[in-house]
């Protein structure tokens, strides 16, 4: 938050088949469909999120991540950050208000890792889904599937991690909460946060730029993660691994795939981070345990199944 960047705001994901994608994201994950636009995009969110949407699906002939956006505190901050990004060496693209429905103007830039990111200050506030603004109940009835509460973070694969870290810490004000170092001290994973969360966005070194590893959604409890696993079996959804625990962040997790091959995570728990706290470090000789705390082994799919 040091530079006025608040939190993850939205991701735009490419899917091969919108009908099947909606069965997955709405019926299985339990996201709420909030709107559609004339380009065929569908706008979704988790029920606890107060802004109108956090996931935008777009049908395309290649799955993956179009961009991830962060909300900033106000329009003046957006202006200042535009200048800071240009000074850092980023090409900054300006996208007018309304290009995404009910979202204010956005600026878009590419990180050295090859991923496109956006910043914006304004989005329509619709409140938590199904709850009154005043005297809200504990949760709304009528939620589907896993009842995912919010889009939480994304893990991205790409190269140029040192320059990407400088961009996110020096320009955007993220803190480095957790990292993985090789014996020479090279950072092969960096988990970055704007908040008390262990990660709002994370990067793992990979020779190809701009790849998506997963988009993650938050659940409240380990029982909810187990129940999500049950639903994955009941619906014959493609599973990756879990339920298990990560060493990094210590979150309790399950990985699975959407019908276009984009990896999803639902998770609960995990460590907290304040900006004054030292970065948590794992070493590459313990990488298996860092990723999958119980198996203590990386599977090839974790490193290579990307969109």
């Amino acid at each position: 938050m040091k530079k006025g960047v608040l939190r993850p705001g939205h991701v735009q994901l490419r899917v091969l088949d919108m009908t099947r994608a909606l069965e997955h994201y709405v019926d299985l994950l339990g996201l709420i469909e909030m709107d559609r636009d004339d380009k065929g995009r569908v706008y979704l969110k988790g029920w606890t999120e107060t802004d109108k949407f956090s996931v935008v699906l777009r049908e395309a002939d290649e799955p993956g991540l179009d961009f991830m956006a962060f909300k900033v505190i106000d329009d003046a901050t957006l202006g200042r950050l535009t200048e800071d990004l240009v000074a850092f060496g980023c090409a900054v693209e300006s996208i007018p208000a309304g290009e995404l429905k009910d979202c204010g103007r956005r600026i878009r830039f590419q990180a050295p890792s090859g991923h496109r990111f956006e910043l914006y200050a304004e989005k329509k506030v619709t409140g938590k889904w199904g709850l009154a603004e005043v005297n809200p109940e504990a949760w709304p009835r009528g939620l589907k599937g896993m009842r995912a509460t919010r889009m939480d973070h994304a893990l991205l694969y790409g190269d140029e991690l040192p320059a990407t870290l400088r961009l996110f810490t020096e320009v955007l004000g993220f803190s480095l909460a957790e990292q993985v170092l090789d014996p020479e001290g090279n950072r092969i994973a960096q988990f970055l946060t704007l908040s008390m969360k262990a990660h709002d966005v994370a990067f793992i070194h990979h020779p190809e730029k701009g790849k998506l590893h997963h988009v993650s959604f938050f659940l409240d409890t380990w029982d909810d993660v187990l129940r999500a696993a049950d639903l994955i079996s009941m619906t014959n959804t493609s599973i990756d691994i879990g339920p298990t625990r990560h060493g990094l962040t210590h979150g309790k997790t399950i990985y699975f795939f959407d019908p276009s091959g984009n990896r999803n995570e639902v998770f609960c728990g995990g460590d907290y981070h304040y900006p004054d706290q030292p970065t948590v470090t794992w070493t590459t000789d313990q990488l298996g345990k860092a990723i999958f705390y119980h198996d203590r082994q990386l599977n090839e799919r974790f490193l290579t199944a990307l969109t």
Binding site: L16, D17, E93, S94, G210, S238, F257, S260, G261, A305
Partner: protein, 120 residues
């Protein structure tokens, strides 16, 4: 029970049955074989790319990054999207280098440069 076809993976010599309407990868996994690598099972990641040497088949939607039109023409497919209509001989290829450059623009917004060119 529907039609069943024999799928043979030529590199390993492994063979297994696949039912009409079932994907080759799904059939392989259900018979506890590993002659083709398993990734996302959704046509997205490219790990299960195979060459079909013989037989009739159709394919579901696959990422153009891993199977472009030319590769499709040459009989390549992702096993998770490969639906046989006869016995098939396939060969595991695995993840290739990208076949396509970066995907189409994410939204119809002009870059600064394009805007300047238009205004000239």
């Amino acid at each position: 029970m529907g039609q069943r076809y024999r799928i043979t993976e030529t590199a390993s010599g492994a063979s297994f049955f696949c039912e009409e309407g079932q994907s080759v990868l799904q059939a392989m996994e259900s018979q506890h074989l590993g002659c083709v690598k398993v990734g996302c099972r959704g046509g997205g990641c490219g790990l299960c790319r195979v060459q079909v040497h013989s037989g009739r088949y159709e394919c579901g939607r696959m990422s153009i990054r891993h199977i472009n039109a030319q590769a499709r023409e040459l009989g390549q497919a992702l096993a998770c999207r490969l639906l046989p209509h006869s016995d098939l001989a396939i060969e595991f290829l695995g993840l290739a280098d990208s076949q396509e450059p970066a995907p189409a623009p994410v939204s119809p917004v002009m870059t600064q440069q394009q805007r300047q060119e238009v205004s000239k």
